[in-house]
């Protein structure tokens, strides 16, 4: 995008929205027999995105270990998913606030301080 910081924020936002999609998928499949909870390795993906300068458009999903498997083979924990749902929304909000401030600075520079 514009500079390194906004590039990094862009990768971060992409990763958060990818993770949010997996959370939505887990919630939708909360009653599907045999379905296993999916997630992305957020830290590792973010690290890789910051190294390469862009988020992987299709990161590999991992199945989350350590969750209790129900009798029908499903291991979706709705508490975990709702926590991640709000956590992702908050992370996304935070990153958009940063990006907004960054864009505002740029706007100030363009308008010679008049638009500040």
């Amino acid at each position: 995008m514009l500079d390194q910081l906004s590039n990094q924020l862009d990768s971060y936002l992409t990763l958060v929205s990818q993770r949010q999609k997996l959370v939505a998928s887990n919630i939708a499949n909360a009653d599907t027999p045999g379905y296993k909870t999916k997630d992305i390795d957020f830290e590792a993906q973010l690290h890789a995105a910051l190294q390469t300068g862009g988020a992987n458009p299709s990161p590999s999903a991992i199945t989350v270990p350590g969750l209790r498997v129900k009798n029908d083979g499903n291991n979706v924990d709705l508490d975990r998913e709702s926590r991640l749902l709000s956590e992702n929304a908050m992370r996304f909000n935070m990153a958009t606030q940063f990006l907004r401030a960054n864009l505002k600075d740029l706007h100030t520079a363009i308008s010679g301080g008049a638009g500040a």
């Binding site: 999609k21 599907t32 458009p57 999903a61 958009t96």
Partner: protein, 145 residues
């Protein structure tokens, strides 16, 4: 792959849970039905969920090629309970057999009510997911204000 896809995934959850609630309500409504078009008492129905990719035909074909993509949910089939119906001794009943027993559906209203609560909670969870994603989308649109 965008935030809008997350909404499709959650929407598939809404559809599936609503259909499940419809089947459960049908079971409760017919808990005492002794006569059906196919003959015999009403038989309890149950839904089977299956994860399924959502979205456009092209992207779903592409997604099937790539493993582990987020998936929505759909009802793969509705199964009918084939177990023996309950027999109750009611000689005066028009549907009684020659020994005076009437076949009643094997529906346990308590079980269906609990399932219905589960469907309702799962529906709520999907609605929360949609509003969280909707909020994220509007935040990203607010970026340029």
């Amino acid at each position: 792959m965008s935030l809008f896809d997350s909404i499709s995934v959650s929407a598939s959850g809404l559809t599936a849970q609503r259909q499940r609630a419809e089947v459960l309500v049908e079971n409760i409504a017919n808990a005492d039905t002794t006569r059906t078009a196919g003959g015999g008492p009403y038989r309890r129905k149950d839904v089977v969920f299956e994860s399924q990719s959502t979205g456009e035909p092209f992207s779903s074909v592409l997604q099937n090629q790539m493993d582990d993509q987020p998936k929505g949910v759909a009802i793969s089939q509705i199964v009918t309970d084939q177990s023996e119906p309950d027999k109750r001794y009611m000689p005066g009943h028009p549907d009684a057999d020659k020994d005076g027993y009437v076949a009643f559906p094997k529906v346990n209203p308590a079980e269906d009510m609990v399932d219905l609560m589960g469907a309702s909670r799962a529906y709520q969870a999907n609605v929360s997911a949609i509003s969280a994603v909707k909020d994220m989308i509007s935040r990203s649109m607010d970026l340029f204000h």
